[in-house]
Amino acid sequence: MGALESIVAGAAANLLAPAVLFFALGAIAGWLKSDLTIPEQAAKTLALYLMVCIGFKGGVEARASGLTAELVSAGGFGLLLSFAAPFAAYAALRSFGGLDRVTAAATAAHYGSVSVVTFAAGSEYLRAIGVEFGGYMAAVLALMETPAILAALLIAGAPGRIQASAQSARFKPTLWREVFLNGAAVVLIGSFVIGVMSGERGMARLDLFVNALFQGALCLFLLDMGLVAARRLAEAPQLNVRLIAFAIGWPLLSANVALLGAHALHLSLGDASLLAVLAASASYIAAPAAMRIALPKADAGVYLSLSLGVTFPFNLLVGIPLYHAAARLLYG
């Protein structure tokens, strides 16, 4: 089978995966303004469940394979990517995107940081087509959440700004807690550590919970993401062609930078693909929460519409198989 054919086959298989189809169902229902809703607390619980599974499975596998040099290089490179990306994204959003300083910085934080569900979809894709990757990638995911947020604060000069008024000074502790101890990071890292500590014995007890249900929970969560993405797009007067171009072009660029780095570091094909997915993904939980505290003047309509309404669907439907195809060309 030629490279192109295999790319097309991979893309088609991805589009027929139930999880992707449920996302499409949600998006269509949202677009048609159906009254379908996923109860808010159910969606939060599903997100929590997905993070527990990703962290725990990753930890168990990382223990089995030993915490190798690959974890160090993948983790280090992920940290670097997450911290460096916002500077480039900021420049692009200011000049090409025409955003104001604060909104550009906040949006840059989203694109430097990562999306847990995109990672989940990416790893399910690799599993479905039989490509192996390291359990420690769950730890890399967790490591890549925060640096981009710090970078965006530096860019916006926020830590200084925040001390300006008496009121915002009070919010510094809240901000630092939000940055370093946000629920998503705590659950991901915590579950990873629990996975490492409890190992195969723990997995024996949690096997069905963590593995057999994962796909189903992902389907339900993506149904909700589809609804939210459609609504975000419909209610986003701020979006223009340039911003949408950024939201598609950036992940393409970012994924390829990640692939080149991963290749240079001799990471495996699967790890490289997941790093590309992470680099291409944009945060929609940790980053907005921090930005609401640190940069309240940034326009949330912009960063959430781009991240949830454009980049997330693009990565889910097209990006994931594409990045993996690029990885195969590179690793060829």
Partner: protein
């Protein structure tokens, strides 16, 4: 019924600020408060909806206390709203057991 007049503040703020605002209210002399979660809304910062994916929820903090405490809280809140989204409404209410407010 012996009723006394007190001041009620209804403060709409983002969820992340609630702890700090409760602390502030205590500091200004309020002896209690109750917090409710909204499901959706709109204002000058655009519209929001409480979903499971985005954690954008606004809270309503209701507190009843002395006129003076309310005035002090308003000064703090004016400052706060200069940076963050939100709204406060003040009204008069009658309460039982005036000594508790």
């Amino acid at each position: 019924m012996k009723l006394a007049t007190r001041t009620k503040l209804e403060i709409f703020v983002e969820a992340h600020a609630v702890d700090e605002i409760e602390r502030m209210l205590r500091g200004m002399g309020f002896r209690g408060c109750s917090v409710f979660a909204g499901v959706e809304g709109a204002g000058s910062h655009g519209s929001w909806r409480q979903t499971g994916v985005e954690e954008a929820g606004m809270r309503l903090v209701v507190t009843i206390g002395a006129e003076q405490a309310a005035q002090a809280a308003l000064v703090w809140l004016e400052n706060y709203f200069a940076a963050y989204p939100g709204v406060v409404a003040l009204s008069e209410v009658k309460v039982l057991r005036a000594e508790r407010f």
